[in-house]
Symmetry: C2
Subunit: 328 residues, 2 copies
């Protein structure tokens, strides 16, 4: 299997690359080549197969980012929520034109006689809006409350159409808020959901910009990785025209998350400071806190582990590396 990861230098891109390097296989097939692409050259994991790494602009995607014979493209390259809100042109350019560039490259490969590559695209729950009381059904219309979500929803439509036309074979995963993200806070409006667990575990304070009873739809990095790898090899024949999936995350509250943190690391939750931030609250409060995710279950996406396990997994997988990265 020949695989490309666009956005290969990001959090999830690096996790996919590391897993492929470790396993040497995807869906039971040996990995024969991996290409990592990002705005800065991604670091290459040590692997038993060739790994190429290149830097560039997704909109002027070089052919070498998706070489001939590519079986799977993970298209994770994006301008995230707060940044797309702050810079409309940049968001539109990367999130929409970038997706068109991926489509055009796949289409060129098909026109040259290749097989339509599987394209696993990371969409987001930010493409929905709804009150804190809503549970979103699989056929609910996306009414985004932010530019990032609008661009992701539009890209899903364009990718589904490109699949129907045989240019590629897309699976769009509307990822929940992924917690606990390692490293540093980022420009996503949802960044604090990770920070209120990660920072206390590092012995640092974190700001909570919403109320304790705020409900949120989340998934762990482990589960996101599982879903992305499943999307890369699953049978899309059952999906029909609809190539988008609400994967089975879990609905939790800030209070429940902090209780779980306290259970794992007694005293840690005292590092969380209530600091109202209306701009952040305005964005995240439009994201529905629960999804039915029935379709995903019938398509074989794995069920989510409890919140307690999410925090334990962060400690196991990412805490030491985060500490080292930040010189703590």
């Amino acid at each position: 299997m020949k695989i490309s990861i666009l956005g290969g230098g990001g959090f999830l891109g690096r996790k996919i690359a590391a897993r492929l390097a470790k396993d040497g296989t995807l869906g039971g097939h040996p990995v024969t080549g991996l290409t990592l692409f990002d705005i800065a050259e991604p670091s290459r994991p040590a692997a038993g197969f060739p790994v190429a790494s290149l830097a560039g602009d997704i909109v002027t995607l070089p052919d070498s980012a998706i070489p001939e014979g590519t079986d799977v493209v993970f298209h994770l390259a994006a301008v995230v929520s707060a940044q797309a809100e702050a810079d409309y042109d940049l968001g539109r350019r990367v999130n929409l034109r970038g997706t068109d560039a991926v489509i055009d490259r796949c289409r060129a490969l098909v026109a040259a006689g290749g097989k339509p590559p599987r394209v696993v695209f990371t969409s987001s729950i930010a493409s929905f809006s709804g009150s804190q009381n809503v549970t979103v059904a699989d056929n609910t219309r996306q009414v985004p409350g932010n530019s990032y979500g609008a661009q992701k929803a539009a890209a899903e439509l364009i990718l589904a159409d490109a699949s129907r036309r045989g240019f590629l074979d897309a699976v769009s995963l509307r990822l929940p808020t992924v917690i606990v993200r390692p490293g540093r806070p980022n420009k996503a409006a949802s960044s604090f959901f990770s920070a209120i667990v990660r920072e206390p575990l590092l012995g640092l304070d974190a700001e909570l910009p919403v109320a304790d009873d705020f409900a949120v739809w989340v998934c762990s990095p482990r589960r996101a990785l599982d879903w992305l790898l499943h999307a890369a090899v699953m049978d899309t024949g059952k999906m029909g025209l609809d190539r988008s999936i609400d994967p089975p995350g879990i609905s939790t509250t800030v209070a429940h998350l902090l209780q779980a943190l306290e259970d794992v690391a007694p005293g840690a939750a005292s590092h969380v400071k209530r600091v109202e931030d209306r701009a952040i609250a305005a964005i995240v409060s439009t994201w529905p806190p629960a999804f039915e995710a029935l379709h995903a279950r019938t398509l074989g996406f794995s069920a989510h582990e409890p919140v307690l396990d999410v925090i334990r997994a962060f400690i196991e997988d990412d805490l030491a590396a985060t500490r080292a990265e930040r010189g703590l």
Copy 2:
């Protein structure tokens, strides 16, 4: 009121221009200027206010197409279903990049201190798919079965987001199949719905490619015009983030349509020949035949007249011009 019609040379664009010229007002306000824009220079109706007409490419939209101080933009410029299916690049360019160009022009006007123009956008029921048994609710997710529909649905999302950001003030109307279209048959899959009424009234045969019990969601040109004008002046404050409307068309069947034709012009229906066309049937059978359209009613969109009136209106409004145009 300063008004622009993009796609001002098309069927509906010409109807809007003629109505504005006749009334001299829109929503009770005097029209002070009208700009018509299309790929070929649209003909200008005689009017009591200045009318400009210009030709150009929607993607490289000249500023003069939406002059300073424009209150309302009718954005009807599109590559339609059959053409967007045959030429992917052209459809994407006009239907998506063209909409971006409209957004960018409105945005520039707002940045220069202007008011966000009302943008009335023609989306389509082709942005949905479903069986002959489906009644589509207002919050149903769009899963298009053709590139035109996918591009329209994506443009709706981008226009709603642009509205939220204050670049413009959009209302997207998902028009039903408009019958009875004047002029000649074209290669659009839906062309026969008009042809089976128009051609017999001209004394000509028409082919029916689907069964008589085939159900379809339609509207008349008169009703489409009413809705477009209402969308131009309605209060969008009640719409929230969702700027798309399923207007209240009517669900009818081929049999009902032919019975009404027979009632208006006895013997005419004998010109309709049953000629199965599986390619056409495959396309049109993915379009849902009924919509709840509840939201539209609360927003003041007028209810539809019966099918009998649709046929009489065609005879009154368009039959003589069609006869003349075709030298009959």
